[in-house]
Amino acid sequence: MLSSDDTSLVGSNTILERAGASLGGRSILRGLDVEISPGQVLGVAGPNGAGKTTLLRLLATLISPDQGSGFVLGARLGSPDVYDVRRFIGLMSHTPAVIAELTIRENLEHAARLIGADLERIDTALRVVGLAGAAATRGDACSFGMLRRTEAARLLITRPRLLLLDEAFSGLDVDAQELIDALIGRTIEQDGAVVMVSHDQAHLVDRAARVMTLSAGRLETVT
């Protein structure tokens, strides 16, 4: 039987070719060429409103390009293939996605069950992110950093092959920031790819092989 983490059916090819995207009838991204190889960290920088979050949502298959084309983990964006690869994409966005009425543990259990992951990973993940003692706290009674840690725990459990981090360090205390590094490290080890958005150039340069800078929806520089 296939394990739920089996990725043999998933491509590793993630690439955008002259891709553009629109929101609310306005063209936000234009003519982006991006290639992300397994085992690599790509940094994304750019001023506020440049389109970094929109780029991550495009790579997460949550929006479709209205220009050019793209593949994520081998699935063509805008095609039904994306449904097969979504499970292997992990996204940490500006606002944490934790179900308010469930406790931290229940949130993780729910995710593990839906994805078919081993439930035993939950306890370990809770310990790793330092929430073992707060596992019974409901989502709506969590501090901001606790929500972010819960997300980190979920990403530890779901083991994405494409990890998308939107200012993942914000809201975490100094100790917990190392968690993000651990997440990145593990994804790379398992031959996954990471795209990280940050406003801190030093953060990016330390971790990413390449850093691309967006400006007004276009690629400005790649270093």
Binding site: G24, G25, N48, G49
Partner: protein, 236 residues
């Protein structure tokens, strides 16, 4: 603009001609003068079906092509379909009051199904208005427009489908053979009202294009977020 005016004017003439036929044709002896309303009732319902069919077609085309014109067509056609259904309902009710002494009966499958169809398309219009994003609006209404059309055959065949459940009205002349002149009047009205539909459709599409053009003028590029100008902090 001119073309639209001419179309509307000729449609007016066509409808007047239809009315003239309706009022001069012989009447059914059983139902009396009121049966003249049938000349409007049936064509309005038919054309409403046509309108919803056009919407479904346009919706499917939008899903394939994703160009705004199909979305405009779907929207314009629903608006007309709703107006035509309302007229059909109204004439049906007037007739029912005259002939059966009752304007409405929820137990009549055709009446109930027509009413449901009417509300669903009103819901379609409300949904459109609730979505500001043009792309999202087009997507969702295309889905609803393509699906909602399954009600049309249901309404049309409701009389036959549900006969086993409910008696049909005894003097309802479904499929009854009519005198030639009566058939003639009905057909003339059918043509006239279909023509009216197309004329109004063209006019509505024209208006929609104007609206969209003015909206496009105000649509902006993504915003220019610039670096802060700290030198002016003292002025705030």
């Amino acid at each position: 603009m001119n073309r639209v005016r001419i179309l509307l004017a000729t449609a007016g003439i066509a409808v007047l001609t239809g009315l003239w036929f309706a009022f001069t044709s012989p009447v059914d002896r059983l139902q009396g003068e009121f049966s003249r309303i049938l000349n409007l009732h049936a064509p309005f319902m038919w054309v409403a079906f046509l309108a919803f069919g056009v919407t479904a077609f346009a919706s499917i085309m939008w899903l394939i092509r994703r160009t705004p014109r199909w979305d405009r067509l779907a929207m314009a056609s629903v608006e007309l379909g709703v107006v035509f259904t309302a007229t059909g309902l109204f004439t049906g009710m007037v007739w029912g009051q005259a002939v059966w002494g009752r304007a409405w009966d929820w137990a009549d499958p055709r009446m109930a199904s027509t009413a449901v169809m009417f509300f669903v398309y009103i819901g379609y219009l409300a949904l459109r208005r609730a979505i500001p994003d043009p792309e999202m609006r087009a997507k969702r209404s295309a889905l609803l427009g393509a699906i909602a059309v399954i009600q049309v055959p249901l309404v049309y065949f409701s009389v036959n489908l549900f006969r086993s459940l409910h008696q049909t009205q005894s003097i309802r002349p479904d499929g009854a053979t009519m005198p030639r002149e009566m058939l003639m009047a009905l057909l003339v009205n059918f043509v006239a009202i279909t023509y009216l539909y197309f004329a109004l459709l063209v006019a509505r599409l024209h208006l929609a294009r104007l609206e969209e053009a003015s909206a496009a003028e105000t649509a902006r590029e993504p915003d220019a977020v610039t670096p802060p100008r700290l030198s002016e902090v003292k002025d705030v």
